[in-house]
Symmetry: D2
Subunit: 372 residues, 4 copies
């Protein structure tokens, strides 16, 4: 009798289900960049948490397109509406549904691209997987999908603030070849205001200027650049994460790498730490003035054995240059003909300042906090 690994009988084509995140604080996103709207359903939120659209809107406004010359000129007001799960200004324990309508759709911008696969974009792989062009149907690769996560993250942020004072901050530490030296940012005292003080979201004004100049330089040529986001988590409860498959660093890596355009993740000493010896790398313990066990250094990045130790978690996330560019490229069409393509549409010359939303990390931490 033959093995049943591989058969030829008619079967039902499974589509991976991948739009839900978390088991305890669970978010399901829906919508694509060119349909009716985008949003999410949040299940497992505690009841009686004060919540309104304003809590989400402030976060959505941060990631909104059209904010400056270094982001996509696409204009969306991105006004969110909560239609269930909240009554009289507090959560009820029922699923919270939030939606943001799409208002500035210019489908025709994309029409001529519908034949060709944009290089390094999701076009080809979506078509391989679903047999549809993402421009038309999928569109889930759009940064616009992250609106649902940002809205849900706003709820997580609120819960974490009250529960443990946990705070996530993210800033641009590299744009193209401009690298912000680590010592110029103090993770103990960094504030959101410092991050938000300029359009590139680098807390150091001098380097912010350099980054903006670097982005401008490629923008005018129709090209794009990548960069690095540094993300920190302060006031982390001890004991988050678990020892084996769901190590905290593994969960953080997955959350970070689920953002569009990411190419790498490191925490603590990261790749640079591989050049050290154990005696150089280890974080010695001491007891601080409050009797609390701490580490003198933090090459562990706040995580040991897959579990948070209460120190600041720090991560660096690499974003590739935006793949949609305004320059001529070689590619193929759906029916395998080789052509030249000059993409149109409105896109960020550098996705990093808008890609750095800490809200995915809020979601993760919130999910984990329920299970410590």
């Amino acid at each position: 009798m033959a093995s049943s690994i591989c058969t030829n009988k008619p079967f039902l084509q499974i589509q991976a289900v991948g739009s839900t995140y978390g088991n305890y604080f669970r978010v399901t996103t829906f919508g694509e960049s060119h349909g009716g709207g985008v949003g999410c359903v949040i299940d497992g939120c505690p009841s009686r948490v004060p919540l309104s659209e304003a809590d989400m809107q402030v976060e959505l406004d941060r990631r909104r397109p059209g904010q400056s010359r270094i982001t996509t000129p696409r204009k969306e007001t991105d006004t969110c509406c909560i239609s269930s799960g909240v009554a009289d200004g507090i959560t009820t324990g029922s699923p919270i549904k939030v939606e943001v309508p799409n208002t500035d759709q210019r489908g025709h911008d994309y029409n001529e691209m519908s034949l060709a696969y944009r290089p390094s974009h999701a076009d080809a792989t979506y078509d391989f997987k679903y047999g549809v062009r993402s421009v038309q149907g999928g569109g889930r690769s759009s940064a616009r999908e992250t609106i649902g996560r940002v809205a849900a993250g706003a709820v997580a942020k609120k819960i974490l603030k009250q529960f443990s004072g946990t705070e996530v901050l993210a800033y641009v530490s590299q744009a193209h070849k401009v690298v912000l030296p680590e010592h110029l940012v103090d993770h103990e005292t960094l504030t959101l205001d410092q991050v938000e003080s300029n359009i590139v979201r680098c807390p150091n004004p001098e380097y912010a200027e350099k980054m903006i100049a670097a982005i401008d330089a490629v923008r005018v040529r129709g090209d794009s650049v990548g960069g690095v986001v540094t993300c920190i988590v302060r006031n982390v409860p001890r004991g988050l994460g678990s020892p084996v498959f769901d190590k905290l660093e593994a969960e953080l890596a997955k959350a970070a790498m689920s953002l569009p355009a990411t190419k790498g993740f490191e925490f603590g000493s990261g790749f640079a730490g591989t050049f050290l010896t154990g005696s150089e790398h280890n974080d010695e313990f001491f007891t601080d003035e409050h009797g609390r066990i701490r580490t003198r250094t933090n090459r562990s990045g706040g995580i040991q054995g897959g579990i948070s130790n209460g120190e600041i978690i720090n991560m660096r996330i690499a974003f590739k240059p935006t793949s949609t560019i305004g320059r001529k490229q070689n590619t193929v069409t759906r029916d395998r003909k080789e052509i030249e393509l000059t993409a149109r549409g409105r896109h960020d010359p550098c996705v990093v300042p808008r890609g750095l939303s800490p809200n995915d990390i809020y979601l993760l931490i919130c999910h984990l906090v329920f299970s410590i």
Copy 2:
């Protein structure tokens, strides 16, 4: 009425469940380094797959300790036993339970450490989380836990070989400061024999010698080093992964970062790619002589929009230097007294050659293959 986010009523302490991996091909590991044994239960394996202990043993022998002077001198035969789910040499569709008994336990080696937290080890965080010392009870942070994953990975490997010819290879591309230049390895032709040709598992003999020398240099001083593993996947079915939370790179990052001692993950162009512009970075499509859509370059690392495109997937994973070293370090005891500790026990001066098991990646790919 107060919010119900945070209450003081008596409650049941949840322990995160983190010993299960995968939804379609699902593996649950159990056991710790100093108990009765380690192993796993595999659920969801197709029936009628020829399978025996020998299939697993060859993989277990690769990760076995005591293989050479650069690995831990701990002696374990690591002989596995399948006790359910296989009959007459084929799988039956029932859960497959595999176990490897622990034979070389020297609990007393650890006794004096039971008071102090070893720096950068899981000791402190396990105690914070579980209220027990890992030496005694947890021990799940031991590399020995990975035996269950290796055994399960052997099954995944077998399924993938038959289904799609998919093959995962991993080799040491950096040990301490010895960095193997990328152009010295051809990912199209690399073989397992080349990787296994030396004790450090670097496919280039010259660099293998340099790496071994570097490890020996710290080993004799009781110190340790880290390094980087490069892992590739060939003959990847197109369409693995999904567009949002479960992007293929996100799943790969989580799988890789769930291995002990990892600090970073990158794929394709990785962190280096952030220095390029979009026009330099994009992978142009072409149609090859078989009429198949391919990319001319592979900075995408085989993944676009979270979904495999059929090109080789390549990843680099950073491992920190082993935290348990034979040198005096400052630390604290469980009751917060500061002391000096010189760890004993038998540990790898460099975990990288044994940490590079591709079997976690086999598990992931196998899980994903079920859902394309």
Copy 3:
């Protein structure tokens, strides 16, 4: 050291997440009876399935209130809108979001009840669990929540029809004390038209009349009745279900008992079968004229060892009398005062004809079909 089972430290109140169904074909519902609307997000639907609002509307129209004198006079048009996951009339593989706005809200009908807990209703338990009154916030106990399931079931129905010709039918076999004799319905030939031929959805006209009379008799007194729905599944693929926790009958029982107002579930010979001996009960096998292995009788109800055998699956589901009635009852208020309550609002005198939607079963079967 004390056990960590039960502690008094501040903790985060978990809310069970229970609005998602299925792992392969996954549905998340949202919305309550008195908010902005109700609906669902469907994840994991294959791409390129022709789908439109009309496919769902026909099912929604069947469960719509205000259809006859034996259902609630609440008037809702229940018009659904698909806002993502479908383009050019076919599914794209992205999450499908469907929503039905609430149009006939008379919140004030419920105002005076907001102090008292309606007997045998979800009021008290929702308040115990969430600290909010369901009238205000939860409302998830409303039969209106099932709209999301019906819409999703319509998609499942379509997939199953094409894949395996699988068909689910449900009819009222008992209303109050009127019991339809089993031999009057032939499960091999029963049609949807027969079921839909009268307002009580009993396929036998004579008994339908008796049931309607029985419901009318209590309706005019402001009282309510319960009943039994019989549900069958025809053309079931063999091999659905699994041997242990997820036996097919266990999954069917859970799906059926997740409908509001259910009190019991049985399949095949059910409770009556407990009065037989093994030799009376066993279904003997034979080989039919097509060479197919069949059973001569079907006391197994199409399921043996937790797995479908290809015969017709038949189930009976008990529904209690509607708890909201127009008669005076003793109860207590939220602050524990005993009072008399006469509920107002508009409710079904008998929930059974509208409660019998086979769409939950379609959802389950569809989920399972992906995993055979």
Copy 4:
């Protein structure tokens, strides 16, 4: 372009994964009746819970075969061994692995049956699904599989006793045609000793005698009978369950119907309640002398709107007569030949007294308690 519902391309045969139960307190069982042994892995157990094999053994002894003339004469000592997750008599937070070796295997008893499908047994459906005979490989349909659940249930029982004093009791309320009148058992005061006072586990001695006589009558003829188990849960925390898919009654139904040989489930007023009107059925609320909101009657069976209200939960579970009987039956072989079969092997003439283990319900409640 064709729909992708149904394709003919080679694909990987998914096997449903069904050996894991629970998300918060998670149990995975393994092993079959005729392999090396059976057992389970428990993940998510709080740390520092005192636990030993003795806690489980007392429960295993209750379900052990060979206890009396009305159970199978198969002799197994069923001695369990915990090999991980417990150290120094307390749980460590790591997965707990428990195993019971199979000692009394008489594989040859089954040999002649290996060609024919036993009527109403799992033989045929396992072969349809897995392409193997359950006698050989699967064997997961054996009541022996439940050993893993019983062992895990013993842990759940211990946690629940300490946390909330929650207690589950199950007794035989019907064997063949002997029906124990409801008023003869007081659910407020029923004790385990009363249940265990006789071999049929009916707490009323007079009816116990009648039941034993009824079982004996069919046993001597090589036939078998079914019956009903009544199961109650006392001291239930309020707020267990959730409003929609995971209603408490839905979860209980699934847990109960996952036991081998079950045909029906009802709770509270059950099927009989469908003959009442709403005014007869509703449970009026009152405030008791401790100021606690209670119901005067309990036709709701302790559950309203899918959520526990703190009253006693009561359920009735129907078990069919054991399918393996010692009488000649018509059936077919694997290759479709019709034959007569007289089954051998050692089996229970009535599975009900051993099938009534409350441990599955302990598992469920424990899982749910983590999420209130």
